[in-house]
Amino acid sequence: MDILTQQLFNGLTIGSVYSLVALGLTLVYGILHIPNFAHGALYMLGAYVTLTMMLLWGIHYWIAMAVSVLVVGLLGVLMDRLVFHPLRHAPPIHDKIAAIGMLLFLEAFAQLIWGADYRTMETPYGQVIDIFGMTATTQRVLINIGAIAVMILLYLFLKKTYTGSTIIAMAQNREGAQLVGINTNRVAMLTFMISGGLAAIAASLSAPINLVFPGMGHLVILKAFVIIILGGMGSVPGAILGGYILGFTESLGATYISNDYKDIIAFLLLVVILSIKPKGLFSREGF
């Protein structure tokens, strides 16, 4: 029973990170129908920016994370303006090629600046605590609380504010959004900003329990794609639920099946869910 509770908590932690990454990916897909493969690179850069702020200038973890959100968010905006926006009327394959190109470029860039070494991120939250008989580091607790808080804020922003609603409106009908006076280019930039920001938060929260290296976004982005496919492409609830389903399945699978196969579980899950619901769990268009 203790092991089960512990693994459920671990699953919640992994799922929180996956959900945040998948949310950014699904928001961009929802409004522009671009599968942004470079999102994994934004995740990686989010961790590096936070780490650099902390190591170079001794900035506090939370402030470093805020800077990282801003930097990676702006990088997302640049990605839209310099790459995706000029390709808006090009055949869809061009977006995909450009996204892969950016992923490779940003990884090479990170390697040039920070090197290929694996780095650790020390935070003030390394102490081990006991919660309801479970053992966890404060950092893991923070990941869960932080991710859930961000998801609630994102939900309120999308549902309760005019600016947030423009993202939902554009996802459901781009021309309809234009006809009510929404500047769709501005919405696209805003969405890339949020998407980058979410990747930076996810990376900065999870980096202290993982390692920071140029290829750290590979597996995460692959799994984020699995999540948004099984959750329903472009669906916000689908990304959250999908992230947690994958987190719990991986954590429990690693304990009760085999730790060696934990990464395969994501893809097995994808096959199973798509066999039952071919359009994903939340198949409707829009958010």
Partner: protein
């Protein structure tokens, strides 16, 4: 108020509309008649900024608006209610209407007042205000599309085939509402295939054929025009 001079929209060698001249005066209700594919929707899209004219000029209240982006056109006071409605299907009726007031988003009171006015005009929308737009019937969706279009209190509203696919009773209601919107001070440019019903409420009209205007005149002139009667009224 609105002047289209020599407007053409071309796709390569194919002209969707060619040398269109339209004048709409303040407070008028002007109708564009024509069969499917005649160029009425392309004209609307050119005015709304969804399509860039290849040639010609479009002016609204004396300022050129051809090639201007759609959101700036809405801000200028022109709103299009498209033929396929372009609603936000998973948003509720109320959310759709509130999005219609987007250009006045900083004046919450005004948006709320417009919302009440739309509910008064279409009481069924009030009853269904919490339902997703995609779950409404065709007639209700059309009411919502018109309601959303007038939420921003436009100076000119472009209504693209509001009667298409609706039951005769609903069509009658729809034309009554359009007339009321016009009488309340909004200039209306209406594209229709239902020529008789449209001309009965219109001041003037233009008849399209294969992307060009072939006949124009006052509503009475068009109602008695042989070509119009044969082609669109069946008399």
């Amino acid at each position: 108020m609105l002047e289209l001079s020599n407007v053409s929209v071309k796709y390569g060698a194919f002209a969707a509309i060619e040398n269109i001249d339209i004048h709409v005066g303040k407070g008028e209700l002007v109708v564009l008649l024509g069969s499917n594919g005649a160029g009425k929707s392309t004209t609307f899209n050119a005015i709304s900024g969804l399509q860039k004219p290849s040639e010609g000029t479009i002016a609204f209240e004396g300022s050129p608006i051809h090639g201007v982006v759609p959101d700036k056109i809405v801000q200028a006071g022109i709103v299009q209610c498209a033929e396929d409605r372009k609603l936000f299907p998973q948003m509720t009726v109320k959310e759709n209407l509130i999005m219609g007031g987007y250009v006045h988003r900083r004046k919450r009171k005004q948006v709320h007042q417009s919302l009440e006015e739309v509910f008064e005009l279409f009481p069924i929308l009030h009853d269904k205000k919490d339902d997703p737009a995609g779950s409404l019937s065709g007639g209700q969706q059309q009411m919502l599309a018109i309601g959303r279009a007038i939420m921003s209190k436009p100076k000119l509203v472009l209504l693209d085939e509001p009667s298409i696919g609706l039951a005769p009773l609903i069509v009658e209601q729809m034309f009554d509402v359009i007339q009321k919107i016009n009488k309340d001070g909004t200039t209306v440019l209406l594209a229709e295939q239902n020529a008789y019903a449209a001309l009965k409420i219109a001041d003037r009209g233009y008849v399209y054929e294969s992307g060009s205007i072939v006949v124009k005149g006052t509503a009475d002139e068009l109602l008695s025009n042989d070509t119009v009667r044969k082609a669109y009224i069946g008399a």
